[in-house]
Symmetry: C2
Subunit: 357 residues, 2 copies
DNA sequence: CTCTGGCACTCAACTGGGCAGAGTGCCAGA
DNA sequence: TCTGGCACTCTGCCCAGTTGAGTGCCAGAG
């Protein structure tokens, strides 16, 4: 058992692994995952040695398989059937056996070209999600750039009727939020202009969460008669900021779910149901680390309906920090290296596009 | 054959019906449709007379069935199986045998209450589509109020950098569209204010399609030095108006498709694909008459993937005219009276809500 | 100690026959 | 014109037998 000394806390085995996984056994697991992902059928020892030159006989492979099964990495549906990887097996595969498959140069060009055609933020998100669904042939999810990390580009006040205003908040990511404001009394143009100027002067460029602190003392700077109107506007503005958690999500590629009717005949329903719940999707993406790519396999997903799916997600953003997440949802039996490559590439390019605009 | 004299062009029979459909035969067809919708299984003569008191024997019903089959209203999957309605049979049912089932008072209250909680246009549409999906247990589609019929409530110009503006268009339906404008040269605050005032003065309250005509001569009223900037802004504004066809649609209830795995095991895919194509959905709703409810059954749908589904749709709007469409998509074997009742009720209440806000 | 070939065993999947049941069409009679 | 009876036709289901892929185990070679 040479060169297996790396400590690896991610191996989910609770007892310290009695049988230190040697190279060949890992190679067998890798081959099983690859074959199973390709054929969608349990893979047997004989087929394995035929398709991969492991340099050993089927009997040897069988011994390794027995060991892998005992450790919970693979599993056989019934005696005298081939093996399929367990969630734990996929986990090991992703952590130690697979490399993210980089996109080819033409693919990268195509991604970039497709995203560059976008005209506004909605379009960027729409194109991204379609692209991701097409590249991975799975269900793609893209979160709109969050308000949390964004900064104020402009705050606009528009008088609709004497007592009714429209408040428009524009962020540096191009997102626009508007709200109606019902003021207690009429608001003159002069006050409106003054308020507009001070709002933008004080809050312009601020991170959104900091805005309430920055503007806290604003009403004090106005005539007592105007303060209630100012406070009303501020209240609505803060409410808008607080509603950042009402974040939007775009979805594409649900038709790809039917590619797995093979063993997905019934389990497609809970997945569709989950996809309709923005809350579930948001939580799903919320569990994504900011910069590193996150892979949640099968039962690692908190939401029960997604127990037979895997989620590959990553943050993206303009500049160096992530402002939102995106990812794909597919069967646990997915092409992890390819999917991770596509997700990473798309996230990078969206970030670039956002930074440019 | 009494009281069957109404001329009915919608009967798809090409040759003038040799056998004038008498009352009982129609009753049999109605019973077949109702039973089949309920049980999802071919319905035989014996079961029919047991469940509906037709006052005749199975043998008689069999004769009627044979006639109905010859005329193409029903069809048997194989000899010695029950009958199922054809698209033509459903058509006759919808046109002449079914009455729209009105919602009960509690249902109406629930609808109204649910929709009244909405805070903005997005929320109205989101709530409507969810509600419709839940009421009909099918896939619901709601189109955003179209820009075509809307009027200008306000146009706002915001200076972001000396040469970069943001144009915000607010319609009376609460929809907000924003676009960036890159001006050829710097634009001062004075010009901006002037332009803003004139835009709103001239175009405020106009129907959107009329705006270009109304504003056509606007640049001529400005200093020659400012005209190129004004023209640029107008160009972007007109472009925004022209992009009304890029209409948005919201969807819900796709998980309901799986309720029909009974015989929908494979045909769910084309439906999901169709649902992902905004263009297809828009065309689908576009075929809806403005005021009357439209029902398209099976092959009556132009889009091939929806050949085994029916679409029930209707226009809705604030006030007396329709500004957009909504509808549901389900299997041809659907509860037409109930679905039509729900669609009609929801459309009415959304209209009311929009008129109030 | 590790790998290999051989062997017996297991079990899902396919096949074909037989049976039951639902439903039909047709015909003679009320 | 409707009804009851009758023979017929299918599908769906159950049952058994067979096939084949795949396994576990073991003894022997390196």
């Amino acid at each position: 058992m040479p060169d297996d000394g790396k400590p690896d806390g991610r191996l989910l085995d609770t007892r310290p692994s009695v049988r230190p996984l040697d190279e060949r056994r890992l190679a067998v697991l890798r081959a099983i995952v690859q074959d199973y992902v390709g054929t969608e059928e349990p893979v047997g020892s004989k087929a394995l040695v035929e398709r991969h030159n492991l340099g050993v006989s089927p009997a040897t492979v069988r011994n390794d398989m027995a060991a892998l099964e005992e450790d919970g990495f693979i599993h056989q549906p019934h005696t005298s059937a081939g093996r399929i990887p367990t969630d734990k097996g996929y986990r090991l595969f992703v952590d130690r056996l697979a490399e993210v498959k980089p996109m080819t140069a033409p693919e990268r060009r195509a991604i970039r070209h497709f995203l560059e055609g976008a005209v506004d933020l909605d379009d960027v998100v729409a194109r991204t999600v379609r692209l991701l669904a097409q590249l991975t042939r799975q269900v793609a999810v893209v979160q709109y750039p969050s308000l949390t990390r964004s900064t104020v580009r402009h705050i606009e006040l528009v008088s609709l009727t004497p007592t009714k205003l429209m408040l428009v908040l524009i962020t540096n990511t191009g997102r626009v939020e508007q709200r109606m404001v019902d003021c207690p009394g009429p608001v003159g143009e002069a006050l409106l202009g003054d308020l507009r100027a001070r709002l933008n002067g004080m809050a312009g460029g601020c991170r959104l969460p900091e805005v309430p602190t920055v503007l806290e003392d604003l009403p004090a700077g106005f005539e007592p008669a105007d303060r209630s109107a100012v406070s009303t506007v501020l209240a609505v503005l803060f409410e808008t900021l607080a509603e950042q958690n009402e974040e939007r999500i775009m979805l594409a590629g649900t038709a790809n779910l039917t590619r797995f009717n093979h063993d997905f005949p019934l389990s497609i329903r809970p997945v569709l149901e989950a996809l309709e719940e923005q809350v579930v999707l948001l939580r799903l993406l919320g569990e994504t680390g900011d910069s590193a790519m996150t892979v949640r396999i099968g039962h690692e997903n908190a939401y029960e309906g997604l127990n037979s799916t895997s989620v590959v997600s990553v943050g993206y953003g303009s500049g160096d920090q992530s402002v939102a997440k995106l990812g794909v949802i597919g069967p646990t039996r997915m092409d992890y290296p390819g999917t991770m490559g596509a997700v990473r590439a798309v996230a990078r390019y969206v970030g670039q596009i956002l930074a440019e605009s």
